[in-house]
Amino acid sequence: MVNKTSMSRKSVEVTNHAAMTKLKRRFSSQNAGLILLMFFILLALPFIPGFKPWMANQLSLVLVYVIAAQGISILTGYTGLVSVGHGGFLAIGAYTSALLVKYTGVDIAIAIVASACMAGAFGFMLGLVFLRLSGPFLAIGTLGFAFFIGTLINNVPFFEGREGISLPVNKFMGVVLSDVSFYFLGLGFFALVTLFIFSFVRSSVGRSLMALRDAEKAAQSCGVNRFFYRMLAFTVSATITGAAGALSGFSVRYVSAEVYSDIWYSVDILVAVIVGGSAMMMGPIVGGTFVALLPFLLETLADLSFILKGLILIAVLIFAPAGICELIARPFQRWRQLQIESVGKETLVNAPSAVMHQH
C-alpha cells in the first residue's frame, strides 16, 4: 500500500518501511518470547519442590480445556461461526479412544490420532448440514448436536452409559506414563496445537477465514470460496477438540456418560473462548485455565462457583467485550502504537496509513 503514494517521496518511504519492519519484527519476537517463557514455566512446574502427582492430573485437565478452547477459537474467533456443540466432539474423541484402547489395546498415540480423525469426520459431516446456517441458527443446531451425542452415549449399551469405561495404564509409544509424564505429553500436544494455530491463522487460509468473518460479501467477490473455507474451519476445529477429548479421557483413565453427556460442557468451552478473548493466541489459554480452575478452587462451594462464573462472564461482556486478554494487552498495545507513531513521524508524512497496516 505504501508504494501507491507519489514517486517523489519514495526514498523517505523506504526508510520508513525499513524502520517499521524492524519494529514489527521486534514486536513479534517479543510475542514469541512471551509464549516460549510461558512454556518453560509450564515445563518447569513439576520440578518445583512440593509438587504432588495429583497436581499434574489437575494441570492435565486444564490443558484439555485449553486445547478444546483453542479448537473452538478457530471457529468462533477467526471464522465468526459460533458452535455450542463442541462438547459433542469432545465426547466423540474421548469415546473413540477409550473404546479403541479397551477392545484393541492400542498405544494411546494411535488412539489420539484415531479419535482426532473420528471427530474431524463427524465435524465434516455435520458441517455439510449445518454450514448452510449462520449466527444463532448455527448455535442452536450445534447445541442440538451436543444434546444428541449426550443422549446416544447415555442410552446405547455399547457406550456403557453411566457405568463408564475404565482404562488401563497409559502407554505412549510403548512407554508407561505416570501422571507427571502424562502432563508432559499434554504439554507437548498443547505446544503442537499452539504452533499449528499460530501458523494456521497467519496462512492464506487463516486470512481467508478472517476476511469471510469481517466482510463476507467482499471476500466472496474476491474469490474466497465461502463454503470450502468454512467447512475447513469446522473440520479442523472439530479435529482439535476431538484430540482434546481423547486426552481428557486418558488423563483420568475413565470415560463415563455422566461427564460427557452434559451439554453444559460444550457451553463451558465456548465461555472459555469468550472470557479469554476469541481472536487472540492467548485468549483460549487464559479462558480455558479460568474455566477449568474455577470449580476446582471453589470445590466446596460448587454453587458459589456457578454464581461467580456468571458474574465474571457478565462483567467481562460489559467491561471488556473482546475478552480478558484484550484488556491486559491494551496498555501494551498502546505503548507499541506510540512507538510506531514515533517512527512514522520521524520519517514519513503519511504515517497514519502505515499505522493502520500494522494491524
Binding site: 448440514v129 449466527g135 448455535a139 442440538g144 444434546f147 443422549t151 469468550i274 462464573k309 458474574l311 461482556l317
Partner: protein, 288 residues
C-alpha cells in the same frame, strides 16, 4: 394406542410451546437467544413449591409466582441486558448464559441440587374424549396452554402495547421514530418471557419434578421448535413445538423411551437440510 400417543404428545408439545414462544418473542425484539428462559421456569417451580408447602392455595401460589417471575425477567433486562443492548448477538447470548449460571447457582445454593417432588401432583385419571383416552392432567395442561395462547393473541392484536411490540419487531428504528418507547417495549418483552416461563415451570413441574436442571431438555426443545418458525414466527414456533411433542412421543412409544430425547435433534437436522429458513417462509429476516 396411536391416538393416545398423539394426544399426550400434543399436551407435552403445548408446554414446549410456552418456552418456544418466549424464545421467539425475546429473539425477534432484542436479537437475544435467551439461554436463561429455562431458568425463569426453574425458579418459578421452586418458588411455587415453597409457597404451596407453606400453605398457599394453588391459585394463590400461581399468581404470586407469575408476578415474581415477571419481575425477575424485568430485572434481568434492566441489570444485564440493557448495558450491552447494542452489542452483537453472541455477546447478548453469552450474557444470558451468565444469567443462567447465576440462577443455577442461586437455586442450587438455596434449595439444593437434588430432585424434589412437586406438591401438586399430575392427575392421571383417564377421560374418554374424541375416541381416545387422555388423562385429566394432560387436558388441564392443554387448556392452560390454549388459554395463554388466547391471551397472547388478544395482547398482540388488540392492545396498544402488543401492537407496539410488533412494530418494534418489524423495524425498531422506525418504531422509535414513530414515538414508540422501544426501551419500555423491550422491558415488556422480558416481562413476557418471565410470564411464559412461570407457566411453563409450574405446569411442567409435576411431570419433570423440581431441580435446578429440570428445564435443560425442555429449553433445547423450545429452541428447536423456535427454529421451526425461523425464530421469528409465533404460530411457527407453536406448530414446531406440537410436532416435537408428538414426534418424540411416537418415537418413545414405538422405538423405546431411549429414543425420545434424540427426536428433536433428528427433526432439526431434517428441517435444516430441507428448509434452512425454517418451516414457514419468513416475511422479513434481519441481517444478523
Amino acid at each position: 394406542m396411536l391416538g393416545q400417543l398423539i394426544t399426550s404428545g400434543v399436551s407435552t408439545g403445548a408446554l414446549y410451546a410456552l418456552t418456544a414462544i418466549a424464545v421467539v418473542v425475546v429473539f425477534r425484539n432484542t436479537r437475544t437467544i435467551n439461554l436463561a428462559q429455562g431458568d425463569f421456569s426453574m425458579i418459578a417451580a421452586f418458588i411455587a413449591v415453597m409457597l404451596l408447602k407453606s400453605g398457599f392455595s394453588y391459585s394463590q401460589a400461581l399468581a404470586c409466582t407469575v408476578a415474581f417471575t415477571i419481575l425477575l425477567g424485568i430485572l434481568v433486562e434492566r441489570l444485564v441486558m440493557r448495558p450491552i443492548a447494542d452489542a452483537d448477538w453472541l455477546t447478548l447470548f453469552t450474557a444470558t448464559l451468565g444469567v443462567y449460571y447465576i440462577m443455577h447457582g442461586i437455586a442450587g445454593w438455596l434449595w439444593g441440587r437434588d430432585t424434589k417432588a412437586f406438591p401438586y401432583t399430575f392427575d392421571p385419571t383417564p377421560v374418554h374424549t374424541f375416541g381416545t383416552v387422555i388423562s385429566v392432567g394432560h387436558l388441564l395442561n392443554i387448556g392452560w396452554a390454549a388459554a395463554i395462547g388466547a391471551v397472547l393473541f388478544v395482547f398482540f392484536k388488540f392492545t396498544k402495547q402488543g401492537v407496539a411490540m410488533r412494530a418494534v419487531t418489524d423495524d425498531p428504528e422506525t418504531a422509535r421514530l414513530m414515538g414508540i418507547p422501544v426501551r419500555f417495549i423491550v422491558l415488556l418483552t422480558w416481562g413476557m418471557a418471565g410470564f411464559l416461563g412461570a407457566f411453563a415451570g409450574i405446569l411442567l413441574a409435576p411431570i419433570l419434578y423440581v431441580s435446578p436442571q429440570m428445564m435443560d431438555e425442555v429449553l433445547v426443545k423450545g429452541y428447536v421448535a423456535a427454529v421451526f418458525g425461523g425464530l421469528y414466527s409465533i404460530p411457527g414456533a407453536i406448530i414446531g413445538a406440537l410436532m416435537i411433542g408428538v414426534a418424540e412421543n411416537l418415537a418413545g412409544g414405538y422405538l423405546g423411551s431411549h429414543y425420545k430425547t434424540a427426536t428433536a435433534f433428528v427433526m432439526i437436522v431434517v428441517l435444516l437440510a430441507l428448509r434452512p429458513q425454517g418451516l414457514f417462509g419468513i416475511q422479513k429476516r434481519r441481517e444478523i
